[in-house]
């Protein structure tokens, strides 16, 4: 081979390196739209349909016989089960409300876009939902970084947005248009810390978090704060970047401190990989996590390595409350799988939105946001939801343990 290389060649090569790195950012935005209609699975390029035929809805006072709401989620990518479960929950709620006559005597239709788990995509698709599809309200996302990206756009246009399951406090701090139906991370961090300290009686817990996710960083801080207040010690705090494949350096350092447990506030794909490598390195410490673990993919990837681990979640399908059992039955009948926490939260967020739509004087952004903010004692699958002054929901959390490849109920920890 020729071993020479010209300076110009390098310049071109580096330039193209840059182009390639930016390529997906610039080009990815235009091709990956998914429109979901009456069906359970969103289909590519399909316009939204409703039981009574498609029609466009105007934001203030829809003239047609449908009200269009928007949804954005990670339907593909490393967190794909998050978006798919949430979408299933939302579709179930819509099917029910339409069967019962709809809201304000109109049928509900939803337009769903895939953000591929990328924050730039989230901003793009929310803009599209608002400016092109003219939705009256938006449901989404699961990952906090993506809710923040989409939420900024929704706030700017004055369209109410409900995040079903983003737990980072910053999400609703964006402004008065952004709500959520789940608890927030300072509380979740407290729950995991309390469970580790009081139920498991652990003293030393190392932490390995994803520095690229607002959720992971926030939850890590909240956990460490609570755990130290309860008298526990955090001997090692390590970081990775979501998508990394090699955690050996971090895990070796953690192993050196000989902790009782490792707290992994990340998302399920990375957590599965970390668990595998931790066990390979001979780390036997208990693994702890947050609601980012809530996916059937976690046990697929982690296998025996994740067995026995604990994580906090929004609900357990084993709870005996009638709301939970009815929901689980309906969901299983429609999708033939056990609903995870994200499906339950998707379902709750949609139903809470429909209730507020029914109560609001009109469907304008301000009026709808005011009706959402006034939600009191809404009986959801994931608990009784009251929206507080910061537009968050206060609810108890459950702790689940992975047993035989399935999450099993371990404890309920209520807010103090």
């Amino acid at each position: 081979m020729r071993s020479d290389a010209r300076p110009l060649g390098y310049f071109t090569a580096l330039l193209s390196t840059l182009t390639l790195a930016l390529g997906p950012t610039l080009l990815g935005g235009c091709d990956k739209m998914r429109g979901g209609g009456g069906g359970g699975e969103p289909e590519k390029g399909k316009a939204p349909e409703s039981a009574s035929g498609a029609s466009s809805a105007k934001p203030a006072d829809p003239a047609g016989d449908t009200i269009l709401i928007g949804e954005f989620g990670s339907l593909t990518g490393s967190e794909a089960t998050f978006g798919q479960s949430t979408h299933n929950g939302i579709m179930l709620a819509i099917e029910e409300v339409n069967a019962a006559g709809g809201v304000r005597n109109k049928k509900i239709a939803v337009k769903t876009y895939d953000d591929q788990g990328k924050s730039q995509e989230a901003g793009t698709v929310v803009t599209r939902l608002i400016t092109e599809d003219k939705v009256v309200a938006i449901l989404g996302e699961v990952a906090s970084s993506l809710s923040i990206a989409g939420g900024r756009v929704a706030q700017q246009y004055g369209v109410p947005m409900i995040s079903p399951s983003s737990t980072n406090p910053q999400v609703t701090q964006i402004g008065d248009m952004i709500f959520r139906v789940c608890f927030i991370d300072p509380y979740q961090g407290f729950v995991v810390a309390k469970f580790a300290r009081e139920n498991l009686k652990l003293g030393n817990v190392a932490v390995l978090y994803d520095q690229a996710q607002a959720y992971s960083k926030g939850l890590k801080d909240d956990f460490i704060k609570s755990f130290k207040e309860m008298g526990g010690a955090v001997p090692s705090e390590q970081a990775y970047t979501g998508g990394d494949q090699d955690f050996s350096a971090q895990l070796t350092t953690i192993k050196g401190t000989n902790p009782d447990a490792i707290f992994l506030p990340g998302y399920y794909t990375d957590v599965g990989n970390v668990a595998l490598q931790a066990r390979k390195l001979g780390l036997t410490a208990t693994l702890l996590g947050g609601d980012g673990w809530d996916s059937s993919k976690l046990t697929e990837i982690g296998g025996p390595a994740i067995e026995g681990a604990y994580y906090s979640n929004h609900y357990s399908h084993e709870e005996q409350r009638p709301e939970v059992q009815t929901f689980v039955k309906k969901y299983q009948a429609k999708y033939n799988q056990v609903p995870d926490g994200l499906a339950a939260l998707g379902y709750d967020s949609a139903r809470l939105l429909f209730e507020a739509m029914g109560k609001a004087p009109s469907l304008g952004g301000k009026e709808l946001a005011a009706a959402l903010a006034a939600t009191k004692d809404f009986k959801g699958v994931t608990g009784v939801i009251s929206i507080d002054a910061d537009r968050n929901a206060k609810k108890p959390a459950v702790v689940l343990q992975i047993k035989g490849g399935k999450p099993a109920y371990a404890a309920t920890i209520a807010p103090n």
């Binding site: 390639l20 990518g77 794909a80 089960t81 970081a239 998508g243 494949q245 990837i301």
Partner: protein
Amino acid sequence: MTKLLQTLFDGVAVGSLYALIALGYTMVYGILQFSNFAHSDIFMTGAWIAYVVSAAAGWAVIGGDTPPLYSGLVALLASMAFCGLLGFGIERLAYRPLRKAPRLNVLITAIGISLFLENIGQRKELFGTQPQKMPQLLPDTTLFTVADVNFRIVDLTVIAVALVLMGVLQWLVFRTRLGRAMRAVSYNIPVASLMGINVDRVISITFVIGSTLAAAAGFLYVMKYPGALKQPADSTWILLGLKCFVAAVIGGIGNVRGAMLGGVLIGLMEMFGAAYLSPHMRDIYVFSLLIIVLLVRPAGLLGKATVEKV
């Protein structure tokens, strides 16, 4: 001491994977003077073909039996064969029609092919949009332990396969008629064709060899990290491709031995940085090394600088 040896071993294992991929970049650059950015997607396809083959053979059942010993070899050969064909097809359909076009056109085509492969791979008929659990096809046991450092079969296989393939390539390029033809084409295409060398055929073979090596690296990569196999359009693959391109540039792009050296250097740099500095800045070490090499030796460590006549 244990940590030093362990890091050294890990660095060499990862580095030899990088070297395998870097070879594909460097061979194409040596002959055609453009960077084949679709190379990282061939690598991704190689990894996914290994998964598809294992799934079809029933080795990827969650909680199923341990796959038989020959499964790794079958998956490796299948992905090498498929990606060899893919590389041949890409060159034939996308690059050959542009043989006389300005180099920038070819480069843009390469980026186009890269995006095409990523996105077509996401189709549910092909690989789908979600990560999948890659089964452990190679036995994952510790072969022997020296000074508390575990030498795992997987890592040793990775190094051994990479070394064998690089040895074969070295022999092919520098000891055979075909290799002489390849080197001739890389010096001067018109003159080589006047000497009776079938230039198109040599270029095709170069693409097939480069793609085969990338497929092997893809397979070895998922064996080394057998957790979640990332979906085709995940940024993990692009980042890996970039690192290996950097390896080729550091070694002196166009130079086969340079690519091997660059790959191992990058692997060591990454592992030592992660182990002794901070693990979450591992990519920064790699790209800093690139900047330093470009400042000190712009033609790369083994590259020869030439004067461009204007």
